[in-house]
């Protein structure tokens, strides 16, 4: 009952923020709708970065993976830090250019730098594939969370449908301003939830001290140091997911949307510290679940977080209230990531694919209308797929996405450093990288020490660097 009351209150506030976001719109332009006019201040920016980067995977997928992998899943903490570190490869230079030239989507930079329609559309399509995948993962996480909360198998579909409609509604009403403001609320809720989780873990310090010894008896491989092959895969994952995460279009658009460089750098400086609190606690819940719920299968292990929270909530009224807030925070994490991905997705579909690739021309107002319609259509498609895919392991989805998305990185980042890198070379690099990644993923060799996407990235990088010397581009002109 408490959960229901708080949830209704939360939804009302979301809608109110969306309406306020609509009222604060200064013009009906893509820059205003998709980037809030480039006016996001420190509090809103840090909250929207936090709420967007920390998702259903953080709250549901990560504990599940920690449960399956054991202590070696410490890699998740470093991986979230690596995303911010990889931003430093391009964010300062790209931010300055974006402000100067009025970029709205990441592909605006690709288009401006290479002046090649084919490369722009390939990058846009790869980003769309990754984002559709990511959106799907959020919907699955939302369905799992609702099912875990209610304990009724049919509630998965109801949860996915209802929450999806809410997300599209406030996203299309207020654009980035509504998304960022609702993210602020959601980010604060998530932070409070994380503090509650941390507080609970601190009260359990005596039990936690004995935890490794108990797990060592149950499943010793989950406590022992990982073997060399796992360590190499760990490094490969940091490279793949760190750089892939830094290529999320919704993250890049927040770099464009910051009010100033000062606001952006303070936000990123804070962001790199957050995994120490957030991801670490999620990871630890998965580790604790190894002792509490031994022997769970893959699909069941994705729900260890909700099982742990069920267990904690029975330990007194304070913890019950804390768990209720935490579950709301987890749902907020999923919704905030889904709304940001959806907004970014519709901006790329309209601005990059429809306008730049197909060559469709219309007024800003008409393009915004098309963007809103595309949000409804895209969400509808993803909802249908989500309902078909109940029970899939979330982490698998996460990895497939990064294998492809990371292939955009060489063209995107090296474009800032290698003036002679041409569109043809970059395209060949992307094609080779994707081919290697897809082939490796299809074959799924058990003996492989690194992810297929990492191998593909290496091939892609090699082609771009060598190709820029062998076949230097003459088309790129230095722009202010």
């Amino acid at each position: 009952m408490l959960m229901l009351v708080l949830f209704c209150l939360y939804l009302c506030i979301l809608m109110m923020l969306a309406w306020l976001g609509r009222r604060r719109a200064t013009s009906k332009t893509p820059h205003d709708f998709y980037l809030a006019g480039g006016k996001l201040g420190f509090l809103v920016l840090i909250c929207t970065l936090f709420a967007t980067q920390y998702s259903g995977n953080t709250f549901m997928g990560f504990p599940g993976k920690a449960y399956r992998m054991g202590y070696a899943y410490m890699m998740s903490v470093t991986f979230m830090m690596c995303i911010v570190t990889f931003y430093l490869l391009y964010a300062p230079a790209l931010r300055a250019r974006a402000v100067l030239r009025g970029y709205v989507t990441p592909c605006d930079w690709i288009h401006d730098r290479y002046r090649n329609r084919g490369l722009t559309s390939v990058c846009a399509v790869l980003m769309c594939i990754a984002m559709l995948n990511y959106l799907l993962a959020q919907l699955l996480a939302m369905g799992n969370a609702v099912e875990g909360l209610t304990g009724r198998p049919g509630s998965f579909a109801v949860g996915v449908l209802f929450l999806s409609v809410v997300i599209v509604l406030y996203e299309t009403v207020g654009g980035m301003r509504a998304v960022a403001w609702t993210d602020t609320l959601q980010g604060i809720m998530m932070f409070v939830a994380v503090l509650i989780l941390g507080g609970y873990l601190l009260t359990q310090h005596e039990e936690l001290a004995l935890l490794p010894a108990r797990i060592l008896e149950l499943e010793p491989d989950k406590v022992r140091p990982p073997e060399l092959k796992v360590c190499v895969k760990w490094l490969s994952f940091l490279c793949l997911a760190g750089l892939g995460g830094a290529m999320y279009p919704q993250g890049i658009q927040r770099i464009f949307a910051a009010k100033s460089t000062r606001v952006l750098r303070w936000s990123l400086g804070a962001m790199v510290l957050l995994p120490l609190l957030t991801v670490f606690f999620a990871y630890f819940m998965g580790i604790m679940a190894i002792e509490q719920f031994p022997g769970l299968g893959k699909a069941q292990s994705d729900q260890v977080m909700t099982r742990m929270l069920d267990l904690i909530s029975t330990q007194g009224p304070v913890l019950y209230f804390g768990v209720t807030l935490l579950l709301l925070g987890a749902l907020a994490a999923m919704m905030s990531t889904a709304d940001s991905v959806l907004l970014s997705l519709s901006s790329i579909v309209i601005q990059d694919i429809v306008v730049k690739t197909i060559g469709y021309s219309a007024s800003d107002e008409k393009l915004l209308k098309l963007g809103k319609i595309s949000s409804w259509v895209l969400m509808g498609i993803v909802v249908v797929v989500a309902l078909q895919l109940q029970g899939i392991t979330l982490f698998r989805l996460l990895v497939i996405k990064f294998d492809l998305l990371v292939q955009v990185a060489p063209a995107f980042i090296l474009g800032l450093y290698l003036p002679r890198l041409g569109a043809g070379t970059a395209l060949v690099g992307i094609a080779a990288g994707c081919a290697v990644a897809v082939a490796g993923f299809a074959l799924d060799p058990k003996w492989a020490w690194v992810h297929p996407g990492t191998v593909g990235l290496g091939v892609n990088l090699f082609i771009c660097v060598v190709g820029s010397f062998l076949f230097p581009s003459e088309s790129f002109e230095q722009k202010p």
């Binding site: 406590v223 140091p225 490094l235 460089t261």
Partner: protein, 74 residues
Amino acid sequence: MEQNPTHFLKLRHWLLLLGLVVLSVPWYWPDDKVEPFVLGMPSWAAFSFGISILFSITTALLIISRWKDGDDEC
């Protein structure tokens, strides 16, 4: 392309960050050595977490101290 002042990290900074990331992976840890247990973790995981803390603080300090503000308010 001329040197862009917004590429604010030098090679030594990137090498420092890379070194910390490589150290955060326990490839060098002896097999089967899990004790002592620290903060509910085997020793290798606690060490890895410690390096991760160092990595995040170093990155944050580099961002704050070396990335200069531009006159770029929208």
